[in-house]
C-alpha cells in the first residue's frame, strides 16, 4: 500500500520539525552533564526498575553493562526487562552474557532458550533447554510452564514425539486444559514435525481433534478421549497418522484388539510405516501373540534400522517365543540406541536372567531402577527436587 503523496507526508514533515526541536533542546543540556560513575548508573537502573520505569531502566542497564561488562546482575536485568517487553532478539545476547558470567545459574539458560525459540534459532534453543535441564530445571511455576511447553514444541519439531508428549502430559496433569496445550499435543500425537506456528492451516481441525483426544486420554478421561478419537473418523479416516494415533490411544487403554486393528488399518494405507509396524508388534506381544509379532518386528527393524523401539519390539517378541539369545541380541541393539530407556533395560535384564547371565541381569536391573523415574530421557522439571534458585518470570527477583 503506497503512502506517497498522502496528506500524512505533509503532516509528518511538520511534525518532524517539531520533534527535531524537541530532540535538540535537551541535547545541549545533556552535553554538559558530567560522566556518571558505574555505581551511580547501577543504582539509578535498579531504582528505575523498581519504580516500573522500564524503558529508562533498560537504557540505564545498557549503559551499566557497557561500562562494566562483568556486571552479571546488569545483564540479568537487562535480559529480563527486554524479555518482558517481548524484545527477544535484544534479550538473547544479554542472557548469553549472563550465563557466560554465571554458568551455574539454570534459569538464565531457560530464558536464553526461550528467547532463541522466539527468534527461531531453534538449534541453540534446544541446546540451552538441555543446559537448563542439566542444572535441575530450576524456576518458578510460570517459568516451568512456559519453558516446558516451548521445549516440548521443539522436541516435536525434531521428531522426538514421545518425549514431547511426556512433557505435555505432565503439564496437562499440572495446569489443566488450554487450547495451546491441546494443539501441541495434537501435533506430537500425529507425529507432525511442526511447531504450532508453522503447520498447514488446513490441518488445524485434525490437529485440534487429535489434541483433544490426547489430552483427555492423558488426564484419564477415557470416554471423552474416545469421543474425539471417533470424531476423527468422521472426516479424517484416510488421513495418514490418524489410525496410528487411534492405535496408540487404544494401546494406552490396554484395549489391544482395537489397537491392533487401528495399526493394521494404518498399514493398509501406508504399508511401509515403520512406527505403525513397531507398535503393532509391541501390542501383539502385550496381547500374548508373540509368534505373530516376530515377522512384523523383523520388518520394522529392516525399515528403521536405527529405531530402538523396533529392536525392543523384536527382542520382546523373540524372548516371548522362547528365543532368549536372539531376543537379548535385539535388546542389546535397542540399548545401544537408547541407553536411557528404562523399559529396554528392564526387558534386557529379563532376557539375561533367562539365559542365566546373572551378573549382567543384575547390572541391567540396577540401571532400570535408576532410570525408571525418568521415563526415557526427560523428567518433568516440576517433579524434580527444586534447586535453591528460584526466579520469577517477570524478573522481580535476583538470579
Amino acid at each position: 500500500m503506497a503512502v506517497s503523496g498522502h496528506p500524512i507526508y505533509i503532516f509528518s514533515m511538520k511534525r518532524f520539525s517539531w520533534l527535531l526541536a524537541l530532540f535538540l533542546a535537551p541535547l545541549s543540556a545533556l552535553s554538559t552533564t558530567p560522566q556518571k560513575s558505574f555505581e551511580q548508573i547501577a543504582k539509578q537502573a535498579d531504582a528505575a526498575r523498581t519504580a516500573d520505569r522500564m524503558s529508562e531502566a533498560i537504557g540505564l542497564y545498557t549503559q551499566g553493562v557497557r561500562l562494566h561488562p562483568a556486571w552479571s546482575d546488569g545483564w540479568w536485568w537487562l535480559g529480563s526487562l527486554l524479555y518482558d517487553e517481548d524484545r527477544f532478539a535484544e534479550a538473547a545476547p544479554a542472557f548469553k552474557k549472563f550465563v557466560a558470567l554465571t554458568p551455574k545459574s539454570g534459569p538464565g539458560y531457560a530464558f536464553l532458550a526461550l528467547c532463541e525459540y522466539e527468534t527461531q534459532d531453534f538449534g541453540s534453543s534446544m541446546k540451552h533447554f538441555g543446559e537448563w535441564a542439566r542444572r535441575g530445571s530450576p524456576g518458578n511455576d510460570a517459568l516451568l510452564d512456559v519453558a516446558g511447553f516451548r521445549w516440548a514444541s521443539l522436541l516435536t519439531r525434531e521428531g522426538r514425539f514421545n518425549e514431547a508428549l511426556y512433557l505435555l502430559a505432565a503439564k496437562a496433569a499440572k495446569v489443566g486444559r488450554t487450547p495451546a496445550l491441546v494443539e501441541a499435543m495434537g501435533l506430537a500425537s500425529l507425529q507432525m514435525n511442526s511447531l504450532p506456528e508453522d503447520y498447514p492451516p488446513e490441518r488445524r481441525e485434525l490437529v485440534w481433534l487429535t489434541g483433544e483426544a490426547a489430552y483427555y486420554s492423558a488426564t484419564g478421561a477415557t470416554l471423552r478421549a474416545s469421543q474425539y478419537a471417533d470424531r476423527l473418523l468422521l472426516h479424517y479416516s484416510h488421513e495418514p497418522g490418524v489410525h496410528f494415533f487411534r492405535g496408540t490411544l487404544f494401546e494406552f487403554q490396554k484395549d489391544f484388539g482395537a489397537a491392533e486393528q487401528e495399526y493394521e488399518e494404518e498399514l493398509r494405507s501406508s504399508p511401509d510405516n515403520g512406527p505403525a509396524m513397531t507398535e503393532l508388534a509391541v501390542t501383539l506381544v502385550d496381547d500374548v501373540q508373540p509368534d505373530k509379532a516376530v515377522p512384523i518386528a523383523e520388518r520394522a527393524v529392516s525399515l528403521e534400522p536405527q529405531n530402538p523401539r523396533a529392536y525392543y519390539a523384536l527382542g520382546s517378541a523373540l524372548l516371548a517365543t522362547g528365543k532368549p539369545e536372539q531376543g537379548a541380541r535385539a535388546l542389546e541393539k535397542a540399548k545401544q540406541f537408547a541407553p536411557n530407556s528404562s523399559f529396554i533395560r528392564f526387558t534386557l535384564a529379563k532376557a539375561y536372567r533367562v539365559l542365566g547371565r546373572e551378573e549382567e541381569a543384575k547390572r541391567e536391573a540396577a540401571a532400570f531402577l535408576a532410570l525408571r523415574d525418568k521415563q526415557e530421557v526427560l523428567a518433568w522439571p516440576g517433579n524434580r527436587g527444586a534447586t535453591p534458585e528460584q526466579v520469577e518470570v517477570q524478573g522481580t527477583k535476583k538470579p
Binding site: 500500500m1 503512502v3 496528506p7 514533515m13 511534525r15 518532524f16 530532540f23 535538540l24 552533564t33
Partner: protein
C-alpha cells in the same frame, strides 16, 4: 475481501489520520536518554532522507534509511512507527513485529501501535500474543479511526473463536453486523462461532466450508429477524450433516425461541452425538428453569459442572438452579465459584447481588453493585 485487505484498510485509515501515535509525553524521557548517543546532524540527514523516500514511495530505500537513523537514535518513535508500517506493508510481518514491539515499549499508550503489532503477530501466527495486543489496542482506543478499529475487532473476534470463547466472539461479530459492516466478511466467522469450531476462517476444511457459511448466513438471518430464512438454512444443515457435532445444538438453540419442544429435542439429539457438550446442557438448563422443571435442570447443571469444574457459566447455571429450588446457601456458593472463574460476567454479579440481598448480606450486595457499575462503564474502543 481477504483478511489482508481488512488489515490494510485499517492501516490506510491510520495513515490518513491526524495524529501520529508517538505523541504521548511518556516517550520524552526516553528521547532525552538517547540523544546523547546520537549524532544530531547525521540523524537529521538520515531521518529526512527516510521520510522523503517514503513519501516518494521508494519504500525499500525508506526502510533502509529508517533503520540507519534508528541505529543512531534507537528510541525515535516516528522512525519506529513508519519502519514498522513499511515492513508490514511489505508483508515482512516478523520484521514489522520486532520494530513495533520496540515502538510500544517506548510508548505503551499508543493504541494504534498495539493494533498493528497485534496484526503483525496474527500474520506470524503468534495468536496468543496477537490476541492480547489487539485487545490492548481496543482497551486503549484507536483515536476514532473507525476502519482500523473494525480491523482490530475482526481479528479479535476470530481469535476469540479460536480460543473457544464462542459466545464472546458471537457477540462481537453481531455488534459488527449492527454497525453496518460488510457482512460478507463476517459470514464464515459467524458460522464458526455458531458451530463452536475453534478455527480461523483460513483454517476451514474445504469439505465443511459450505456448511459453515450456511451457519453464518443463518446467524445473520436471525439477527435481521428473517426467521423463515434462518430456519431453512439451519434445517438444511441438519439434513445435510445429521451426524456432524454442533449442528443440532445450533438448530436447537434457534428453535427454543420459536417452538421450545422442538428446540429441546434438537439439543437432546446433539447430546447423543456429543455427550460431553457442556453448552448444550447449559442451554437446556436455562429452558427447563423457564419451564420450572427444576429437577431436570439440576441434574444437567450438576453434570455440566462435573464435566468442566472450572467453567464459570456452568457454576452460574447451577447457582441459578439452586436458588430457584430455594437453596440460598448452595446457590451463593456456586455463584461465587462462577465469579471466581469469570469475574467479568455481569449476569453472575446480578445473580449474586439478588442472592446476597435475599440473604441480608448488605455489604456483599453493595460490592456486587459497584462491580456491575464498573463493568458497565465504557472503556477504550466500544463500537466496532
Amino acid at each position: 475481501m481477504t483478511l489482508t485487505c481488512i488489515a490494510a484498510l485499517g492501516l490506510s485509515a491510520f495513515l490518513t489520520a491526524q495524529a501520529a501515535p508517538a505523541a504521548s509525553a511518556g516517550g520524552a524521557g526516553q528521547r532525552k536518554a538517547h540523544n546523547a548517543e546520537a549524532s544530531p546532524a547525521a540523524f537529521e540527514q538520515l531521518s529526512k532522507a527516510a521520510d522523503r523516500a517514503r513519501s516518494e514511495n521508494d519504500n525499500e530505500n525508506a526502510i533502509r534509511l529508517y533503520r540507519r537513523a534508528l541505529s543512531l537514535r534507537p528510541a525515535w518513535p516516528e522512525g519506529l512507527w513508519y519502519l514498522g508500517i513499511l515492513e508490514y506493508e511489505k508483508e515482512r510481518f516478523l520484521d514489522a513485529r520486532d520494530v513495533l514491539r520496540r515502538f510500544v515499549s517506548y510508548d505503551p499508550t499508543a493504541g494504534p501501535g498495539w493494533a498493528v503489532l497485534g496484526m503483525s503477530e496474527f500474520k506470524s501466527r503468534e495468536y496468543s500474543r496477537a490476541f492480547d495486543h489487539l485487545r490492548r489496542a481496543m482497551a486503549l482506543g484507536m483515536g476514532g479511526r473507525k476502519e482500523m478499529a473494525q480491523s482490530v475487532f475482526y481479528f479479535v473476534a476470530v481469535l476469540l473463536t479460536r480460543f473457544e470463547q464462542y459466545n464472546e466472539s458471537m457477540n462481537m461479530l453481531l455488534a459488527m453486523v449492527k454497525s453496518a459492516q460488510k457482512t460478507d466478511l463476517l459470514v464464515e466467522p459467524l458460522g464458526l462461532a455458531a458451530l463452536r469450531m475453534p478455527l480461523l476462517p483460513a483454517e476451514i476444511p474445504p469439505d465443511r466450508r459450505e456448511m459453515i457459511r450456511m451457519a453464518g448466513q443463518g446467524a445473520l438471518a436471525v439477527e435481521a429477524g428473517r426467521q423463515d430464512e434462518a430456519e431453512k438454512l439451519f434445517s438444511g444443515i441438519v439434513a445435510a450433516h445429521p451426524n456432524e457435532p454442533g449442528v443440532h445444538f445450533l438448530y436447537g438453540v434457534f428453535l427454543l425461541d420459536l417452538r421450545p419442544a422442538d428446540g429441546i429435542a434438537e439439543i437432546k439429539r446433539e447430546l447423543e452425538i456429543s455427550p460431553f457438550h457442556v453448552a448444550a446442557r447449559l442451554r437446556l438448563v436455562e429452558e427447563y428453569l423457564k419451564e420450572e422443571r427444576f429437577d431436570e435442570s439440576l441434574m444437567l447443571a450438576e453434570e455440566a459442572v462435573k464435566l468442566e469444574p472450572k467453567d464459570g457459566p456452568a457454576h452460574m447455571m447451577l447457582g441459578e438452579v439452586l436458588l430457584a429450588k430455594g437453596d440460598l446457601a448452595g446457590g451463593i456458593r456456586e455463584l461465587e465459584a462462577s465469579e471466581k472463574q469469570a469475574p467479568e460476567t455481569v449476569r453472575t454479579r446480578w445473580d449474586l447481588l439478588r442472592a446476597y440481598t435475599t440473604a441480608g448480606r448488605k455489604d456483599d450486595a453493595q460490592r456486587e453493585k459497584e462491580e456491575i457499575e464498573k463493568l458497565n462503564a465504557p472503556t477504550g474502543e466500544q463500537e466496532p
